[in-house]
Symmetry: C2
Subunit: 229 residues, 2 copies
DNA sequence: CGAGCGATTGAAAAGACTCAACCACCGTGG
DNA sequence: CCACGGTGGTTGAGTCTTTTCAATCGCTCG
């Protein structure tokens, strides 16, 4: 199923926990404890971590790499809901709802993912009250992003949304966006052809630069104006 | 600002707490405590409870009535994110993010709303661990609905989404939907004219019945097929 | 009774998608 | 080493959906 390689020499102690959205507030002893409950795997690009509809077995933490979270429509068309990177935790929502996965998580590049068994994770949550607060603020933040997203989609054109998504991706990819047109289209929620046209329009307008499959942002400000936020 | 009338004779003890999404697990003493920290107001239809951008001061609980939660786009166009009714809690997300309100809450009909001061609410949360778990599952559920919504919007036609929304409204309004075309349009995320056209199409197809401003669902099954879920 | 708002309808324009063809690059196998 | 096939990217043309604009209608409320 998962084309992985378990690795033994990764410890949470040398992971940048301070930048982890969930575990950043843990102290040394707690990180140590966390370390003992997790296992790490190396995943190649395009590997599925969990599939929508499958039972929730774990929470996952990204040590390196990038993940796309998407839902699949009836016709197989994908909608990317979120791109996650180093320091993000995946699968929290589904785990807390005590339900099956509603989204699919797939690596966008080679990644190191740490897995914490569901019951261990819940035990961890219950033993560290601060984690529950972190979870609540994480989830709230997620809701905020999603509601903004919905308003964007219903009220803005593909051109505007693309500008918005490029700015998000520019941040995640640290100024060197390497994402397929298909994935960008699945993120924006538009057809690939339309995305290609708008991209080349942005290029013509000197807002971005396209080198091979790398997109470089040349004018963040103008893109912001187009995205109008 | 708020056209309200404070009322003294409402107690949480005779409110249907068992059906409250957040407080349902409280025992008698806890409900009593909750009762002492809240105040209730009667709000007329079209009253704004809080406005996007304003500071978060409280959490709110709906005793009777219905509320729409929406965000406003640049051009003033609204996007309804959620309709809430008796037993729902409003403002949780913004309160937990420690930020200003990102959505506006407005009554859709005359309602009785109970208010719990922000610090009291947080104190309450901290004193009753079970509440934090409820909060987490509430938020997770919300996320699940929103992600589904996003996929719906990008992948389905207005006709399909309208069918979907009508089924949701039919549930909330208990088989007698009384909502303006404008509000339905703002919920579906489409133009009013388009919604009117699709509604009259549904009527022609005998899926719904329209009496004055009341929409009655005649074939839930066929609507489900159109919404395809 | 008149103003005004919500609902409705028609026609035209804009936006987005689909389909089809073609290109460019890359890795493979002969 | 090169031909081949496949994948991802690109472009054009036509079609469909949805929006916009404008006009009309009907009802309610002062």
């Amino acid at each position: 199923m998962i084309d992985h390689l378990e690795i033994k020499n990764t410890t949470c102690l040398n992971c940048n926990i301070q930048e982890n959205e969930l575990f950043r507030t843990l102290n040394y002893a707690q990180i140590n404890h966390l370390n003992n409950t997790k296992t790490c795997v190396v995943l190649k690009k395009k590997n599925i971590i969990f599939n929508e509809g499958s039972a929730v077995t774990s929470a996952y933490c990204i040590r390196t790499g990038k993940i796309k979270l998407y839902s699949t429509g009836i016709d197989g068309k994908k909608q990317i809901i979120q791109i996650l990177k180093k320091g993000n935790v995946i699968g929290l929502t589904d785990l807390l709802k005590q339900n099956n996965h509603e989204l699919t998580a797939e690596t966008l590049e080679d990644s190191i993912i740490c897995r914490i068994d569901k019951t261990s994770f819940l035990k961890l949550l219950n033993s560290m009250p601060v984690l529950k607060d972190n979870v609540a603020s994480l989830l709230s933040n997620e809701i905020s992003i999603l509601t903004k997203e919905i308003t964007n989609i219903t009220q803005r054109s593909v051109r505007q949304r693309l500008a918005y998504i490029i700015l998000i991706l520019n941040d995640i990819y640290e100024n060197k966006i390497t994402m397929s047109r298909q994935d960008i289209a699945d993120y924006v929620g538009a057809s690939t052809e339309n995305i290609i046209r708008e991209l080349s329009s942005f290029k013509k307008e000197n807002l971005i630069q396209i080198e091979r499959n790398i997109i470089l942002v040349k004018s963040q400000n103008k893109l912001k104006i187009i995205a109008s936020y």
